[in-house]
């Protein structure tokens, strides 16, 4: 065991609390829709770009944390994370996970969209769980970075739901629901690493690999499809830089 008695219990509560906070804050993604029903495509591109930068920043700090423990295990974990996400996307048929319009009869990629978000948020959960096993500050920091990331990500999801007649409150709740997998995976990952501390470098690597893969496969191409690439590059870099610098300050 990595932690003793009360430390373990309080840390476990922190895992639940902060991953829950990250999921709950997805509801904030609905806010721009209080002003207007349809957001300009460029705004959604910007939202994706911010989400991408924050996620890339989270993967950077996970890599740094993992690599200074045991580089080979970290890299093995990273490759496993990439392979797992690739295989999950292949098995579930989410090869082109763009937000496509629904078909006229109402059947559309909505189910795939759900699946996509569930997989995505599970990877975030692994990150929070592994980071919490490092120490409390680091865990909170990773959780907060992903909390900030969840907001623009939820805006992108609402851009799909709201124009199709979903009201704002249900849309907000659906965004939170799409992120619930995060809490489950955060707890499971934390319990696993707490039980087997030797797995920590690989778990950090796994989380980083999964996040990087998601950034490259989902967020960046989505954002490039919506608006000019220079704006996207600026916003992504700024969000990435913000995570790195805040990490340096704590």
């Amino acid at each position: 065991m990595m932690f003793e008695g009360t430390v373990f219990v309080s840390r476990l509560w922190a895992v639940v609390l902060y991953s829950g906070l990250a999921a709950a804050c997805a509801a904030l993604g609905v806010l721009p829709f209080m002003a207007r029903r349809r957001l300009p495509s460029a705004w959604l591109g910007w939202a994706d770009a911010l989400a991408a930068g924050l996620m890339l920043g989270a993967s950077y700090i996970l890599v740094v944390e993992g690599i200074e423990r045991l580089p080979l295990a970290e890299t093995f974990g990273t490759l496993a994370g990439i392979a797992t996400l690739y295989a999950t996307h292949a098995l579930t048929g989410i090869w082109k996970p763009g937000l496509r319009p629904a078909r006229p009869d109402g059947s559309g990629p909505t189910d795939k969209l759900w699946l996509r978000n569930a997989i995505h948020s599970s990877a975030e959960g692994v990150s929070i769980g592994a980071a919490m096993a490092v120490d409390l500050d680091f865990g909170i920091f990773v959780a907060l970075a992903l909390t900030a990331h969840n907001v623009p990500e939820a805006t992108a999801l609402c851009a799909y739901l709201v124009p199709r007649g979903v009201r704002l409150l249900p849309a907000a709740l659906l965004c939170v629901a799409a992120n619930l997998g995060q809490i489950v995976l955060a707890v499971l990952t934390f319990l696993m690493v707490a039980e087997q501390p030797a797995l920590l470098p690989a778990a950090l690597g796994f989380a980083a690999g999964a996040l990087i893969y998601l950034v490259v496969v989902e967020l960046l191409p989505d954002s490039f499809a919506k608006t000019g690439h220079t704006t996207i590059a600026v916003l992504t870099s700024v969000a990435l830089g913000a995570v790195v610098i805040f990490r340096g300050m704590i």
């Binding site: 950077y60 690599i67 080979l72 996400l85 292949a90 893969y213 490259v216 690439h229």
Partner: protein
């Protein structure tokens, strides 16, 4: 031999090693859009991995300095893009076909070598016994950088010799900067985080603004995802052990 001459000599060896990165492209002759996209994705992963390493090192010397450097690096790429675009600069006579992107990657990787050269010089200043070890490490570390440059140049039609040549040129600032940095360690140490941040900012921005958007046009997302993320992981591991 004078100590600074040793640094210069070792630095030159590391620069020549960069040329080795072009060698896998002996086998890449027929160039399709998909090949360019995949090569871009590999270059993107290698450059992202390299900038992760640069930032990690830069922040050891100073967080804000690294950040300032990174912002300057980003602005530099934006400025260079504008200049190349407005003046329609043509470098094809130098074997640099492929236009703006080919030129940019050579410029970016060359600048990144300046920062690395300073890092090497400062490290040498720590003790000469480690010199050979550090040189070997940098030499091997340069090979994937040559790979990244060639991955962009070759599919755009550059000859193998041009790939090797430009790879080596991009690393020449290493020995040139390593010597003064070694001789005046105390003067150079404060500049180091700015330089490392500058290089990282320039590389990340180049990846996001040039390499990836082009890659997505020609290859599927899962393929690009696999190539970028695995080459990033590989680069980070290489840097850790070298």
């Amino acid at each position: 031999m004078e100590a600074w001459l040793v640094v210069l000599l070792y630095g030159l060896i590391t620069a020549l090693a960069t040329g080795l990165g072009a060698l896998p492209f002996i086998f890449v002759r027929h160039v399709f859009g998909r090949t360019v996209a995949c090569a871009n994705a590999v270059a993107a992963g290698l450059m992202l991995g390299a900038s992760f390493g640069l930032v990690a090192e830069g922040t050891l010397y100073g967080h804000w300095q690294t950040l300032v450097g990174a912002v300057l690096g980003m602005l530099f790429i934006l400025g260079t893009q504008r200049t190349i675009h407005e003046h329609k600069i043509d470098f094809s006579s130098l074997g640099l076909v492929g236009g703006q992107r080919a030129l940019l990657i050579v410029v970016v990787m060359t600048i990144h070598s300046f920062a690395e050269g300073v890092a090497v010089g400062v490290a040498f200043g720590g003790g000469e016994k480690l010199a050979l070890l550090i040189t070997m490490a940098i030499a091997v570390h340069n090979v994937p950088e040559g790979l990244a440059i060639s991955a962009v140049l070759r599919p755009h039609g550059a000859s193998l010799l041009a790939c090797i040549g430009w790879s080596i040129v991009s690393s020449l600032p290493q020995p040139l900067m390593a010597v003064p940095a070694f001789l005046f360690v105390d003067a150079f140490r404060p500049v180091l985080p700015y330089g490392l941040g500058f290089a990282a900012g320039a590389m990340v921005f180049m990846v996001l603004d040039e390499l990836l958007p082009e890659a997505y046009e020609e290859a599927s997302r899962p393929v690009i995802g696999l190539l970028v993320s695995t080459s990033l992981a590989g680069m980070i591991l290489l840097q850790q052990y070298l």
